[in-house]
């Protein structure tokens, strides 16, 4: 839609790429294939959009499956159990079986609930996830959209994730759901402040809001990544990013939204069958997205740790899965925080320290003390 | 799509806002209506910047909305805090049942 303004950026990035390693993106290939003077544009656009939709759907469901399996397996190992072993090799098909079970389950709606909000809520989280997946640069020539203001776009869409929880919790007309929703709202609004301050630090350091340019700016060896390149400040910001993103994902130790021992499941108490699986799927896709953003901003995205190794999507995957391992490790190690401790942690600890860290990073950049 | 179409759109949206402000009884709903009216003002700002003649300062079309948005969010924060405090005291957010507030 806004190709006219974005074209220059895409070309400048493409020019900087090594012609030997850069491959023709699928989109350009389709565009060449349907290169007709008139009407061809529309045809290639339609084909490209369909390919993108299929790719995103397949990728997110596959990611969710792998992550659920990984979480169960790791949880087992952390507790000296084996985890799922029976279905498929290493229990790999366990998630597929669970998903099939959820799809075949009867989905019912409580009689006293509000149909519009009840059915609207499960659709929203995956929509947001798809929108963010579209701007993450997976590889040098592997991205769907490359907006100039990519990082602002991500923070804008990330703020919408809580809407589904609020709407769904009110629509189910259950006091536990409502409490979960209220907690989710307070938590998401609070932690978003620190999260955006982490983003701001990267914008300050790289002078870019375009994700592809941020990644390209970290090329070279691993000490060019922002986590190391900004002495001290980058590492602190990375730790803050991990903490705040864990809170935004509503995962333990910050999962007061669905705390099973207090709220019997929180906002999704009244959801079952396919509606519940939508929430469940979105939760794991969000986990991957958070990890991928962290890897893009702080760990050099698709860049290899050493100059002589080839760049590619596999590095982004490896880094993302390392961060996901951290999330899972947190979940099975730390006890849950109380809601007032959660708020105190954000407003009395994380927010002031992120502001100080931002000023510190500003001084480092202004003085040129960058590795 | 031209300037007149954009301005008409924002005028209609603004009149919706006035209609809502007059007919709603709940304070939150009245705030919603005010939000609509401010949104109409934003559309005007951006439309004027887009259709500005040569030599005009079009950056203002992006800067003025920043101030509008900031003022709106400040206003909303205070207003909603007042509503929550009032609800906690009286359990009512209906404007016609809060007429004794001026005492």
């Amino acid at each position: 839609m806004d190709t006219s303004t974005h074209q220059p950026v895409q070309q400048s990035v493409a020019e900087r790429l090594d012609p030997h390693t850069a491959t023709t993106p699928l989109g350009d290939w389709v565009r060449e294939l349907c290169d007709a003077p008139d009407g061809g544009n529309l045809l290639s656009m339609t084909i490209n959009v369909i390919i993108i939709i299929i790719a995103i759907c397949a990728f997110s469901s596959l990611t969710a499956m792998v992550l659920v399996w990984m979480e169960r397996k790791l949880a087992g190992r952390f507790q000296r159990r084996l985890g799922p072993t029976r279905t498929g090799p290493f229990g790999l098909l366990q998630t597929a079986a669970d998903g099939l079970k959820l799809f075949l389950k009867e989905g019912f709606r409580p009689n006293a609930s509000d149909p519009f909000t009840y059915y609207l809520a499960p659709l929203l989280p995956l929509t947001g996830a798809f929108m963010v997946l579209a701007v993450i640069p997976f590889g040098p020539s592997m991205w769907i959209a490359d907006p100039e203001l990519g990082l602002i776009f991500i923070s804008a869409i990330a703020g919408l994730g809580v809407l589904a929880l609020l709407i769904g919790s009110w629509g189910s007309n259950n006091k536990y759901s409502l409490m979960g929703g209220l907690r989710a709202g307070a938590q998401a609004i609070s932690y978003e402040v620190s999260l955006i301050l982490c983003f701001l630090l990267i914008v300050l350091a790289s002078g870019e809001t375009n994700l592809l340019n941020i990644v390209e700016g970290q090329q070279g060896n691993f000490w060019n990544w922002w986590i190391i390149k900004l002495p001290g400040a980058g590492f602190i910001a990375f730790i803050f990013f991990i903490i705040t993103s864990t809170a935004e994902l509503n995962r333990t130790p910050f999962d007061t939204t669905e705390a099973e021992s207090e709220l019997t499941g929180g906002f999704h108490t009244e959801y079952s069958g396919i509606a519940f699986s939508m929430f469940f799927l979105a939760e794991y896709v969000h986990m991957f997205i958070a990890a991928a953003i962290g890897a893009t901003l702080f760990l050099g995205g698709y860049n290899a740790p050493f100059e002589f190794l080839p760049d590619g999507w596999w590095w982004l995957m490896a880094k993302s899965y390392a961060i996901i391992f951290l999330y899972i490790w947190f979940r099975w190690t730390f006890p849950r925080l109380r809601i007032d401790q959660l708020m105190a942690l954000e407003w009395k600890f994380l927010l002031p320290l992120s502001l100080i860290n931002l000023v510190f990073a500003g001084i480092l950049i202004a003085m040129g003390w960058i590795l | 799509m031209n300037l007149t179409a954009c301005l008409s759109l924002s005028a209609i949206l603004f009149s919706f806002g006035i209609f809502g402000l007059m007919t709603r009884r709940k304070i939150i709903a009245m705030l919603l209506a005010i939000e609509l009216m401010l949104n109409a003002a934003l559309i005007n700002c951006v439309a004027f910047a887009y259709y500005a003649p040569a030599g005009a300062d079009t950056d203002v079309g992006s800067i003025l909305p920043i101030f509008i948005v900031a003022i709106t969010s400040a206003e909303m924060a205070v207003a909603l805090a007042v509503i929550v405090a009032m609800y906690r005291k009286r359990k009512v957010i209906d404007i016609e049942r809060l007429e004794d507030l001026h005492d």
């Binding site: 806004d2 303004t5 509000d114 519009f116 203001l149 923070s155 804008a156 703020g159 809407l163 709407i167 629509g171 007309n173 209220l182 709202g185 307070a186 609004i189 609070s190 809601i339 007032d340 407003w347 | 799509m1 300037l3 007149t4 954009c6 301005l7 005028a11 603004f14 919706f16 006035i18 209609f19 402000l21 007059m22 007919t23 709603r24 009884r25 939150i28 709903a29 939000e35 609509l36 949104n39 951006v46 910047a49 887009y50 500005a52 040569a54 079009t58 950056d59 992006s62 909305p65 920043i66 900031a70 969010s73 400040a74 909303m76 924060a77 205070v78 909603l80 509503i83 929550v84 957010i93």
Partner: protein
């Protein structure tokens, strides 16, 4: 973006979405439903801003209006209403006065609007970049916006502190989960 058939179609689609959702936001009885309609209206407006080449304003619209203000409104709705809440309709007199006033304002504005002269897009126009906005905001000269920017920052800070103070629980003894979260989020 130059005007083509596609932008025209998109413009009318967005306009229909904005006006439809806007009308729903002021007429639907259920408060949460009208908040969701307002969200749709704001999304449509963000799309319109993208069409008008103001990406930063569009994203700010989503980030602050939808991600902040609407979520805050929904939060207040959650705190103050529940599914059993009765929504009393306004009196007929109010409806008549509301429609009249809205019609008068609409008539006045539409009467003034067609007098706008510069209806053609300047062919040399360039989209405002985020860098330009930043430089203008921190420019202390007569052309810049340094003082309004600082004033707005102070205003936002004071509004935040004021809101937290107003919504704070005053009775020392009674506390429960809802009040604590409500107070902290403000």
């Amino acid at each position: 973006m130059e005007a083509t058939l596609t932008t025209d179609i998109l413009f009318y689609l967005f306009s229909a979405a904005i006006l439809g959702c806007g009308l729903m936001a002021v007429t639907v009885k259920n408060l949460l439903h009208s908040a969701i309609a307002l969200m749709g209206c704001l999304f449509g407006t963000a799309g319109l801003f993208l069409l008008l080449d103001h990406e930063f304003v569009a994203l700010m619209q989503i980030l602050v209006y939808i991600g902040g203000v609407v979520i805050f409104i929904i939060y207040a709705v959650l705190l103050t209403t529940h599914l059993g809440t009765r929504y009393l309709p306004a009196s007929t007199l109010k409806y008549i006065s509301g429609v009249t006033l809205a019609a008068i304002v609409l008539g006045l504005v539409l009467h003034i609007d067609p007098q706008a002269t510069h209806t053609a897009v300047n062919p040399d126009r360039t989209a405002t970049t985020i860098d330009a906005i930043g430089y203008r905001l921190l420019d202390g000269s007569t052309n810049g916006f340094l003082i309004p920017f600082e004033v707005i920052s102070v205003l936002l800070l004071s509004a935040m502190i004021g809101a937290a103070t107003i919504a704070k629980h005053q009775k020392p003894g009674a506390t429960n989960d809802e009040d604590e979260t409500g107070g902290s989020a403000s």
